[in-house]
Symmetry: C2
Subunit: 223 residues, 2 copies
Amino acid sequence: MYPPDNSEDLGPYSHTKVKRLSDRAHYDRDSIYQILDEGFVCHLGFIANGTPYVIPTGYGRRGNTLFLHGASANFALAESKRNTMVSVTVTLIDGLVLSKSAFHHSINYRSVVSFGTVAPVEDVEEKKLALETILNHIVPNRSSSTRPPSESELKATRVVRFEIIEASAKIRQGGPKEEPEDIGLDYWSGQIPIEWRYSDPIPSGNSSKELPEKLANLSRPGR
Amino acid sequence: MYPPDNSEDLGPYSHTKVKRLSDRAHYDRDSIYQILDEGFVCHLGFIANGTPYVIPTGYGRRGNTLFLHGASANFALAESKRNTMVSVTVTLIDGLVLSKSAFHHSINYRSVVSFGTVAPVEDVEEKKLALETILNHIVPNRSSSTRPPSESELKATRVVRFEIIEASAKIRQGGPKEEPEDIGLDYWSGQIPIEWRYSDPIPSGNSSKELPEKLANLSRPGR
């Protein structure tokens, strides 16, 4: 039912078969990993006391694993580990799509809905690597320009690994759909792209160093 | 245990008591609604067949209600209605926070985690109003410049109302925290704000009208 570990595709399986607008669905690792690499905040879904929770949190990807972290008392991470399966969703919003009919309005987006298991990362060396992966996923190469975590900081941090078991990407792009009878209607129609970018860095009062070039030119992988 | 309907606060109750970094938590309607009004894509969390799902979807707010819609066969909306309680989370990412220590890196964000019940909107007039609320939430005043939904389009659309029972907002802003012993370290530290804006609208081939001024100057309420 699930793919072998080296399968090119991560779906469709029981949780990820996209039923509606299935031409928007992608199951190959490339499409899925590209979206996961461009995003850096995911929405973690888990069940605690019978209620579904959705908590936003930063992450880093290595291969088919997403690392998540929080304080050692972090509720979401502690509860996630008690779930047989949790979900992690990453959504990038690319624009508004305005049609001549209310019905065909849409949003351009790229999203990954994934399901998998959460396990603790407890070995100190693995924990360091996982935290580096998260930091460098969010700010490329940043780990070489900071003080690494101390022993007590490592102890105060809970790290978990989320192994993707199945996933689907959904991508909507391009202009609006119209009903043939609406084409002549005298309304504006088209797309309004959303631009998402880093603006000028603001140094803290303690910042002793000129802005490193890599931070001045920061951009997400896909942009 | 839950607030009266006119209470100023929507928490903290059993699901929303923010335990960690509770100085970042807000429970008043103003803080919560402001974030809900600036966002327009939420992450809906529900349980289906024992598994937690997180699905991104557009929404519109009226008072303490969020309206969600989808195709009549929409899996997430159908399953959500079977849940006693679902969650809706909205997250706005405002910037990266770079500290001199790996440990104190952070993300500036504003998020709302809310819990409530989902009920179908079936009355045709209510359905029309709910769909208008969603459309105008995403693109202000757009409903007056489109063809309204036909009877068959209304039938093909499932609309649900999510009533917020409890909610918390979490806001992190400002520069990095530093340990006193790190202040002298020779690393760059500060914030890198994320700018999120509409870029130039792209008319479709069928667009017969000049760009309306209100679309040329589109911005989210909070910006």
